[in-house]
């Protein structure tokens, strides 16, 4: 029983906590009833560590794929985790993916105005930036870029699966079957509308310079014009510009961005324990 003298308002019913009780709470073992809230709290804390492994940053993924050390000189390995494209930016991209078509097109127009699309599409941006920009472009425009990690894979079906569109020409078109070359899509009938104003050679074909902004140049869906290689297809859905030169970051000397005074090198524990003191 408590008398009025020993009443401690800030600690009304302090549970009895000795070392054994604490270890039981930490291990999730049976405890006295008054310690139950602490067991629930401990369980809640542990649950935070039982979730799925987070997605590794590109820098870590690359390092792991390289077997630990081979790619450690890649500047993005140091910058990627805390660099310009963090989870927040990936979240922003994910949000873009959820926008409506009009919003995507508006974003696409803005991005084109800023020249980001052009830079990303031609591989001018370094490493991850290039990849992220290209991913963003693919989200907001009909463009699809070839996958650097899997050259030639892109969205194309593998050989032999019947998805080799355009890979062969029928004998009707080449004239092998009847001696009369058929229409292969490159010619347009004189009876078609607009024949009188049509140039002799379609833009972008047979060396004729493409007209920027001309109909059919990825403008069909309202997407702003994008500078593409001369041999690019006129159909937006088929545009596969080359990935451009390898990332400028590849092979570049390490650019460690961490300004922290701590380092991890001497942390190897002796006898199974961590050795270093936390940085001040």
């Amino acid at each position: 029983m408590s008398g009025s003298d020993d009443h401690v308002p800030e600690m009304p019913t302090t549970p009895f906590l000795d070392d054994r009780a604490i270890e039981a709470i930490i291990d999730g073992d049976e405890v006295a009833a008054d310690l139950r809230p602490l067991v629930i709290f401990a369980s809640g804390v542990r649950a935070e560590g039982e979730r799925r492994a987070p997605r590794p940053t590109p820098a870590l993924a690359r390092l792991i794929a390289a077997g630990g050390g081979a790619d450690s000189a890649h500047p993005d390995a140091a910058a990627g985790a805390i660099g310009p494209f963090t989870a927040r930016h990936r979240l922003a991209l994910a949000k873009v993916a959820g926008f409506g078509l009009v919003a995507k097109l508006t974003l696409g127009a803005g991005a084109a105005a800023a020249g980001v699309i052009g830079a990303g599409a031609t591989g001018m941006l370094p490493g991850d930036a290039d990849k992220v920009v290209r991913d963003a472009i693919e989200v907001v425009t009909p463009l699809v870029f070839p996958d650097d990690d899997h050259p030639g894979s892109s969205d194309r079906a593998p050989a032999g699966t019947g998805g080799d569109h355009g890979g062969s020409v029928s004998s009707d078109a080449t004239g092998e079957s009847d001696g009369v070359p058929g229409v292969d899509g490159g010619d347009v009938s004189d009876e078609a509308p607009g024949a009188s104003v049509r140039p002799t050679a379609p833009p972008g074909r047979d060396g004729a310079p493409a007209q920027d902004g001309a109909p059919g140049h990825s403008g069909e869906s309202g997407t702003p014009p994008v500078s593409l290689p001369e041999n690019a297809s006129d159909r937006p859905g088929d545009v596969h510009p080359p990935a451009g030169p390898a990332s400028a970051a590849d092979g570049a000397p390490t650019a460690t961005t961490s300004t922290a005074p701590t380092d991890d090198q001497p942390e190897a524990p002796r006898g199974g324990t961590a050795g270093d003191t936390p940085s001040p």
Partner: protein, 188 residues
Amino acid sequence: MGQRDRFDGQFDEVIAAARAGSPRAFQRIFEALAPVVEGYLRLQGAAEPEDLTSEVFIAVVRNLASFEGDEAGFRSWVFTIAHRRLLDARRRMSRRPPLASLDEAPEPEAPDNVEDAIEQALSRAQVRALCERLVPDQRDVLLMRLLGHLTVEEVATTLDKTPGAVKALQRRGFLAISRLIEREGVPL
């Protein structure tokens, strides 16, 4: 309960394979410990726990050759790095204005059951709120013990404290939590 063995008894083999440059072994290490490291960083209030976790494991991968010890020692080493990265990140954040609050979006994992998800989210938020209210030293100790399954001695080494100090901190931390729950009626 503690799930101290996160490598199914194959810790030595996994580490040996990782040292030999096996991507699969590195992946295994990441999958085994990244969840607890991320949980630790999140409950410590890190701004971007996911990215910080990757930063921790970049250091782990790069310095694995210098590690010697058993699984407990490895966990302790990983948490030492995690704690340092946390301190580094806090220093960085203190020098940098916060970005827009895009990261306040809900967790991407889709729940199977909406009611369960809400309940889970509520209790998760409450656990985080309680951790936030702890004195930093108490929080460090409790989280390392609960999430890292580090012993008192390992926590003491990691935080450069004596085992006695760690014991005192964990006791005070639990008492503080108990008071918060009772006084403020935080439902768990």
